[in-house]
Amino acid sequence: MSKELSSGIPTDNEVILGILNNSDSVLKRLYVAYFPMVLQLIINNNGSADDAKDIYQEAIIVLYNKVKTGDFELSSKLKTYIYSVCRRLWLKRLAQMNRYGGDIKDFQEYLSVDDETEKNNERDIQFNKMGSALQLLGEPCKTIIEDFYINNRSMQQICEDFGYTNADNAKTQKYKCLQRLKKLFFQQN
């Protein structure tokens, strides 16, 4: 693949394969390719560049999750899909801020994409809960949990990092931390 081609707009299939393979370069090309379109939509409809960043990243995450879970079927151009998701998200945001004047300036064609943004919304709520539960958990529990479950480090490594005398102690500590995390997580409503 030539350098020029790799730096241009990726084809839709490239993007899907790239996401499945966790390819950084594809993600970058995807991000750079369609951001101006979304920026144009947002800043010309009562939004700022920061709003555009939020909305666009949310849309990319929606796409990312959909591709990862395997239920993404490309029924239109990827460009149209991203635009539609951003448009939908921005309308919702405007309505929440009471800034929606009943009219939106469009720059691309779009589809209706209601249910997908809803699903993402639920997941976001779960993640927010998890984030604040982890914050409440405090150190060293937070790091132990993150190292073990997110960064996939072994108990042996954690044991050494934290200076536990043996792996059993570390395991007991991790068990207690997990129990507390669960409690904190489910306490939030």
Binding site: D24, L27, K28, Y31, V32, F35, P36, L39, Q40, I43, N44, A49, A52, K53, Q57, I60, I61, Y64, K105, R123, Q126, F127, M130, G131, I145, E146, Y149, I150, N151, K171, T172, Y175, L178, K182, F185
Partner: protein
């Protein structure tokens, strides 16, 4: 087995770290114990959530890194739609513009108000119908008129609601006056110089020219005799010595003057402007030139200007008379013979005063 150990087992099971034997034993246990089965499912779900949360954080970090490489500011400059200068000026300055506009409108209204422009035309253009009920002067006049009526043997004590002047246009009882005098009238009487009162009927009116034609319907009426004045068809020139006679009071009053303009109020070409002194009650009176030709009918004056009265041109009177349907005018012959021409003003008035009437209008 403590909870701690159980959890470790579950994790080892889920991560596929158990040996074949262990795994088989654990699965049997799981099948037997629904509680254990539930715990396994719960744990898997929770751990997945933590993992996904981690992935999300990771992804967001990557996206933010990508975002920081984009020159958002210059893109923004390029993509924003700049509204036209008039729209952006309105957005930036609309409060100031609104205030300025309000002040301007207010100033214009104030100016118009104080210069009297907003006042109705009626204020400086008064039709000269005498509203008797409203003026003390008129009430006094009425008193004497009622006495006069009693002397004449007529029983009416109602002086009439409005008063104007009218003059004969033919010897057999046709009288012309202003339309605004007889407008909305229930009944119209004319009273002659010698105090005789006759009932009349409005047979035709031309509101556009403010002209009305009355016919005496009273059985006691015979004839006026030959009318001494004629009607001028052509327009009269500015500077002509003119006069009017009429009933602004209960006696006949002469108003001498000059024809001062060939158009009336605000350039109305159907009228003359004259400098004759007129008052309420002069409406419908004849305007005559020095030779005794009728050249117009007095109908209004300008209240803010001294001595500016208006008269409908006689050519419009003649036109109106022509327009009367034949069924309504029996033997209406316009007099064309002027016997006043050689006489002086005193003789002229003496001859014509019998042909000028006070028009009394009753409604309700």
């Amino acid at each position: 087995m403590s909870d701690n150990q159980l959890l470790e087992q579950i994790e080892r099971y889920l991560n596929g770290e158990m040996t074949k034997d262990e795994r088989a034993r654990f699965e049997i246990l799981r099948n037997e114990d629904t509680n254990l089965n539930k715990k396994v499912a719960e744990h898997r779900h929770f751990v997945n959530l933590i993992k996904q949360y981690g992935e999300r954080l990771e992804l967001e970090k990557r996206l933010n890194a990508l975002h920081s490489e984009i020159d958002v500011h210059s893109l923004e400059e390029e993509l924003i739609i700049h509204p036209s200068w008039i729209v952006s000026m309105w957005r930036n300055h609309h409060s100031k513009i609104s205030v300025a506009a309000s002040i301007a409108i207010f100033a214009v209204l104030c100016t118009l108000f104080f210069t009297g422009y907003l006042n109705n035309k009626e204020l400086n253009y008064a039709q000269l119908k005498g509203d008797i009920a409203n003026t003390k002067k008129s009430i006094n006049a009425l008193q004497s008129k009622v006495n006069g009526l009693n002397h004449a043997g007529k029983g009416s004590v109602n002086p009439g609601n409005f008063r104007g002047t009218g003059f004969a246009i033919s010897s057999n009882g046709y009288i012309v006056t202003d339309y605004h005098v007889v407008k909305d009238a229930d009944s119209v009487y004319v009273q002659s110089f010698d105090g005789k009162s006759y009932r009349t009927k409005v047979i035709y009116s031309e509101p556009g020219d403010d002209i009305a034609v009355l016919q005496i319907t009273d059985p006691s009426f015979k004839t006026f005799g030959a009318i001494p004045y004629a009607f001028k068809k052509a327009d009269t020139d500015i500077g002509e010595n003119v006069f009017t006679i009429g009933y602004p009071r209960d006696v006949i009053v002469l108003g001498p003057g000059f024809l001062t303009a060939s158009t009336g109020f605000r350039g109305d070409t159907t009228q003359y402007q004259v400098s004759t002194p007129v008052d309420f009650g002069n409406s419908g009176g004849p305007l005559l030139d020095s030779k005794g030709n009728v050249i117009g009918i007095i109908n209004a004056k300008e209240t803010h200007v001294e001595g500016a009265a208006f008269a409908v041109k006689s050519s419009y009177l003649l036109k109106t008379i022509q327009d009367i349907p034949d069924s309504l005018k029996s033997d209406l012959n316009i007099n064309s013979k002027n016997v006043l021409a050689g006489l002086n003003r005193v003789q002229q008035i003496k001859k014509m005063q019998n042909y000028v009437f006070m028009v009394k209008v009753y409604n309700q």
